[in-house]
């Protein structure tokens, strides 16, 4: 999985970090100090479709069939997250109770073309 840089135009992971202090949310979010809201961007040319990481999925099989049969003119491929991580958060709710929760799929780890 590629990480976006100045010279990368194909599908890649763009790192974006938000410090809770910068948005004045540090008073109710105890931990962590910020959030890695990474996202995916970039081009998905035909030869990258279905790669990497999702070769075993049903959709990838359908796409392979379409490509093998030359029916790909109407099909566009998208750059999407293919791996995510959960995030553990500790925060005050409105009753001033501390809540610790592991939020699934919060952080994009890698990107790929559908």
């Amino acid at each position: 999985s590629l990480r976006c840089g100045d010279d990368v135009s194909v599908c890649c992971k763009k790192d974006f970090y938000i410090k809770f202090r910068d948005i004045q949310w540090q008073d109710w979010i105890i931990a962590p100090e910020g959030y890695h809201m990474n996202y995916c961007m970039g081009q998905c040319p035909q030869h990258l479709s279905g790669s990497p990481g999702i070769a075993s999925s049903f959709h990838a099989t359908v796409f392979s069939q379409l490509k093998a049969n030359g029916i790909h003119t109407a099909v566009s491929s998208c750059c999407v997250p293919i791996q995510r991580r959960p995030l553990s958060m500790v925060y005050f709710n409105s009753q001033h109770t501390i809540v610790k929760t592991d939020v699934p799929d919060m952080i994009v780890e890698s990107c790929g073309c559908t």
């Binding site: 938000i18 948005i23 105890i30 991580r85 995030l87 958060m89 005050f92 001033h96 501390i98 610790k100």
Partner: protein, 238 residues
Amino acid sequence: TSAAATGCPTCGMPAMEKGTEERYLVEIAKQQILSKLHLRERPNITQTVPRAALMTALRKLHAGRVRQDGTLELDNNVPNSRTSNQAYEIVSFADVDERVSAGTDTSLSFQFLQEKGHSVQVLQSSLWLYVRPADAPHHRGRVNAEISLPASSGANRTLLLQRSVDVSRGGWHTFPVTGALQAFLDGGQRRLRLEVHCEDGGRNLCSHEASGDSSHQPFLVAQVQLREDANKHALSKR
């Protein structure tokens, strides 16, 4: 090539100015966090928990698998039930009810508010109490600590549990209250009241007020899981 020139080939949107793009991403992040935490808006924090009390509770709560930035160490071989079943942990600090607390009894109350449309299944819950050391130098070392539900509408108080605790040295003790918390939440109430009795020679050993140390404030830790009310009804029907 033309798509690349517009800046966003995947969605076909025109490129935004740098400042605008950043503000937009921050707004998305805010919405995403609120939505994942099932909150409509950010909680308005009007009173703060003493830092010492907070640090004590977090030390007890914090699992070793959480990194500094909040990401989790995942073991791919073990299914992560905590993340898949919307399980979470809460820490609620006790308000000491001075009107009810008397002599060697301490009355604690905890406030809970459930989300509409959801009920909560309590997987595990414990009351954390700091028991101060006994004064007498040659003390036998143990006292009985009792946790009860207060008397209500003519009925006597209900003893939840009784345990012998070591008071030769001060320390934290946990008292399982899973059943009591579940019954309280199922009853749709908002404030759970517990009475604590642990005295030695007329001295209340569980009163953190007397010690004047906010890091000894009692708290309740619960591991809970959201369950849809619809599912609950279906189960009852069956």
